[in-house]
């Protein structure tokens, strides 16, 4: 009996590595600390009522961002562990199997559990405010989406201490990811972590496109929508069309592993290349899903801090919509070496080059917006300016990779690694940082400390180039990705060592940002509605905005409506008379989303280990939650006029 328990535990828990024991201890300590603090300060009720069951888009957005920053930390630690291992030849820091797990989790976490939730966090906080809405189209579904993301991320991270991490790369290509070559549970964690959060992402895509189509304030025609809203619109189109592909692909891979299917197996007629096609039919659009909102953020920031309206509004909109369509016709450039033939490779090489054109249009629009503007070098603007040269270089190397014959040399080398990190860090991460700094006062009512932010900025930027520029050369020298070991006679050691220094510098930059957030939380000045002298509707309401966002729904007349209002006021023209405040219709909090998330977690965990006594109750729980929701009719309430008036006066009094 005791022996069988022992056997089970040594299989169930990941054992044998001191690094993992250290992590186990710190996870347990952190959990105990969180429980103790919440209990001591009697905050459980507060946490449950104000956060976990909330349907308020602003709070959901903050929870997304918190989770994303935690995941950025985990993904970053993975990155530094890898860079340590390959800093020089012969470093015995990670075993090869462990190294495989680390690069797999690094990629998966950074794309799906860091970039996506950071993006959804910004969607949530800003979109309703920017279009003058009281909430998103489906507040309840919004909360469900958050919980699906969260339990998906937790399930994926659990593989670190229970069962073992996935190790077939973030792309998880079969046949390596099939049962024959990968019999452990790691790949199941990969499949279910992504699957559950992916359903949430799809729901968010639908939620926000309907919000943008149906909930804009009166007078805001589509062509008066702010640029960030447009970018979210384009992104949502891609999400709705691309995520179902991922859902099916992962489901088929799971059926292969779980039920003995033959979709991607080597025997019985399966076709592994089909997985690679399907994966990138989602995967390439996914890149544009995360970068388009960053483009939207740059457009907002550039206009605000140059005190000019965005140059070429219509061409910007056109460029984003073109990108959202063309992004579906480039997927094959991820595997030119598959050997589809010259004609097919040529088609995808050309589409890949074509998609650089609308992107180039946007770069010029940002530059022309700055031209003759009165630029203020605040943190959001600094990240935007840093983005432009970085993204141009990343884009150019992308065009080099698109040249199909040359790609046979670049393929899976460090040249590729340097390229996609340059567009994903230089494009996406810089953009989300700019967005975080820009909208932080709207979320919390204070700005983040400038000085610490400047330190973080320079560490990140210098670190970035020190880390990734050598990798282009390493790629051309023949170093391929996903190797954990090389010898001195390759000549790769010096450049790898420099690259590792750059990675550590970016790590220091991140620590500066953590310090910046902590310092500013305790030491700050309250700011008013409009701390950056902004241009769009989110700056007309309080910082942080009350739960109903706008006491009176704004009426929109111009593209940068708030800027136009300020100009009218400067000329001494009075605002239109405001209609009286009316009772405000709001959705009620709901306990169903977190419970449904828990049920999904139980089901996912059961599928990972193939324990029917786990996944059947889990799926039943999911079904019961949906039925309970369908049968509940008491889902909303009205805030009476008196209360709105009291809140508005309190806000005015405090600033």
């Amino acid at each position: 009996m005791l022996d069988s328990i022992k056997d089970f535990a040594s299989w169930f828990f990941v054992t044998g590595d001191p690094l993992i024991y250290g992590a186990d201890v710190s996870i347990v300590l952190a959990t105990i600390a969180i429980f103790a603090v919440l209990t001591y300060f009697k905050k459980w009720g507060w946490l449950w009522r104000n956060w976990l069951t909330t349907v308020d888009h602003k709070k959901i957005g903050i929870m997304y961002i918190l989770a994303a920053l935690l995941m950025l930390f985990r993904g970053g630690v993975d990155a530094i562990m890898m860079r340590t291992q390959i800093a020089l030849p012969g470093i015995k820091f990670l075993e090869p199997e462990h190294y495989n797990q680390v690069f797999t989790t690094h990629g998966t976490i950074m794309i799906l559990f860091m970039a996506m939730p950071l993006m959804f966090g910004l969607f949530n906080i800003i979109i309703p405010l920017q279009i003058g809405a009281r909430d998103v189209a489906y507040p309840f579904l919004n909360s469900v989406s958050f919980w699906l993301f969260f339990v998906g991320a937790m399930l994926f991270n659990l593989s670190f201490v229970i069962g073992g991490s996935p190790d077939a790369g973030w792309t998880s290509y079969p046949p390596l990811s099939e049962l024959m070559h990968n019999p452990g549970v790691g790949e199941n964690f990969y499949i279910w972590g992504i699957q559950i959060s992916g359903i949430g992402s799809l729901a968010t895509g639908i939620n926000f496109i309907v919000t943008l189509i149906k909930m804009r304030a009166p007078g805001m025609t589509l062509m008066k929508m702010p640029m960030f809203s447009w970018s979210v619109f384009a992104t949502c189109i891609i999400i709705i069309l691309a995520f179902p592909i991922l859902t099916v692909t992962l489901a088929l891979l799971f059926l292969d592993r779980f039920a003995g299917g033959h979709f991607f197996t080597l025997d019985m007629g399966g076709n592994p290349m089909m997985y690679i096609n399907l994966f990138w039919m989602w995967g390439h659009p996914e890149v544009y899903i995360v970068v388009l909102p960053a483009f939207g953020i740059y457009s907002e920031v550039v206009a605000t801090f140059s005190r000019k309206s965005i140059f070429g509004y219509k061409s910007m909109v056109f460029a984003m919509l073109v990108i959202s369509i063309v992004s579906f016709f480039t997927w094959l450039h991820h595997f030119f070496t598959m050997g589809s033939g010259a004609d097919i490779n040529a088609f995808f090489a050309i589409t890949t080059m074509i998609i650089a054109i609308p992107t180039g249009v946007k770069i010029f629009n940002w530059l022309f917006t700055m031209y003759r503007g009165r630029i203020r070098f605040e943190l959001p603007m600094m990240w935007t300016i840093a983005f432009i040269p970085c993204f141009v270089v990343g884009g150019m190397t992308g065009v080099m990779l698109a040249v199909a014959p040359a790609d046979f040399q670049f393929h899976n080398s460090y040249f590729l690694i340097a390229h996609f990190h340059q567009v994903l860090i230089g494009g996406v991460v810089f953009g989300y940082f700019a967005g975080l700094y820009y909208w932080w006062p709207k979320m919390f009512g204070f700005k983040l400390n400038h000085k610490l932010g400047v330190w973080a900025f320079w560490f990140w930027n210098i670190g970035f180039y020190v880390c990734f520029m050598p990798q282009y050369s390493l790629g051309l020298m023949g170093m391929t990705r996903r190797i954990s070991e090389y010898t001195w006679d390759t000549g790769w050691a010096p450049l790898n060592f420099i690259s590792t220094i750059g990675a550590l510098m970016m790590g220091i930059g991140f620590l500066f940002q953590v310090a910046q957030i902590l310092y500013s939380t305790f030491k700050h000045k309250k700011v008013g509605n409009d701390p950056w002298d902004g241009r769009t509707l989110e700056w007309t309401t309080a910082s942080p905005a009350p739960e109903y966002n706008f006491a009176i729904t704004p009426h929109v007349h111009a593209v940068d409506d708030w800027w136009a209002t300020k100009e009218r006021r400067a000329k001494g023209i009075a605002d239109d008379p405001l209609p009286p405040i009316e009772p405000i219709h709001m959705p009620k909090n709901s306990i169903i989303p977190p419970i449904m998330g828990l049920a999904w977690f139980v089901a996912g965990f059961g599928f990972v280990f193939d324990w029917w006594w786990f996944y059947i109750p889990g799926m039943l729980g999911v079904a019961i939650c949906m039925i309970a929701r369908s049968f509940s009719y008491d889902t909303d309430y009205y805030i009476p006029v008196d209360e709105v008036k009291r809140t508005e006066e309190a806000i005015r009094g405090s600033v």
Binding site: P218, L255, G261, F263
Partner: protein
């Protein structure tokens, strides 16, 4: 002011401060969901088309498919789509018992469809043509089974709606729900037409 339905086309003029007709919102969102579901089925169709000749020495569609059963399934599902249309008409005339009656007929037809499909699957498995036999059969069971699963979920949803209609009658909220499920039901019908053509008819050709 609570639940007045905003007149369409009159949006700019209405001063109802962030009020949106909730049913209208739900229908738009549901259309987007259906678009994503179209993509989901397209991926399953393309995997089936890629793998349908990979029988690995096992039986192919010509040997396995029995058209009479499939024709019955088609006939039943198309009829259920018609009866769900009749249910919507009854709802628009405000006739609660007629509405529930037609929904019951629709659900019974749907259940018959699922029953026939399960029967077909069991037969195939018994003939040694199960899910794991070949890539062709894996993709066949997944594609057809996903459609069957959609129909089954629709059945549960319909039963839940009948209970709600019985308790609350025809209100704005329940009207919205019936509209969504009838959209869903017609959508499954369209998918079936493609299944019939691509899987069965082209399979026995």
């Amino acid at each position: 002011m609570a639940q007045t339905v905003a007149h369409k086309g009159n949006h700019a003029a209405d001063h109802d401060h962030g009020h949106h007709d909730p049913n209208d919102l739900k229908v738009v969102g549901f259309w987007f969901f259906l678009i994503s579901d179209v993509i989901l089925f397209s991926v399953l169709f393309s995997t089936f088309i890629v793998l349908r000749n990979n029988t690995a020495g096992g039986p192919d569609g010509k040997e396995l498919f029995e058209l009479p059963g499939v024709i019955w399934e088609t006939f039943i599902l198309l009829t259920s789509s018609f009866t769900s249309g009749l249910a919507t008409l009854a709802m628009n005339r405000g006739k609660k018992s007629q509405l529930i009656g037609w929904l019951v007929v629709t659900a019974i037809l749907g259940a018959a469809f699922v029953g026939l499909e399960v029967n077909e699957f069991v037969k195939m498995v018994n003939e040694g043509a199960g899910f794991s036999r070949s890539a062709f059969l894996s993709s066949f069971f997944t594609l057809v089974g996903t459609h069957g699963l959609h129909v089954s979920v629709g059945l549960c949803w319909m039963i839940g709606l009948m209970i709600q209609l019985g308790r609350r009658g025809i209100t704005e909220t329940t009207k919205g729900k019936v509209t969504l499920i009838s959209l869903y039901w017609h959508f499954l019908d369209v998918i079936w037409i493609f299944l019939l053509t691509i899987v069965y008819l082209m399979g026995v050709m």
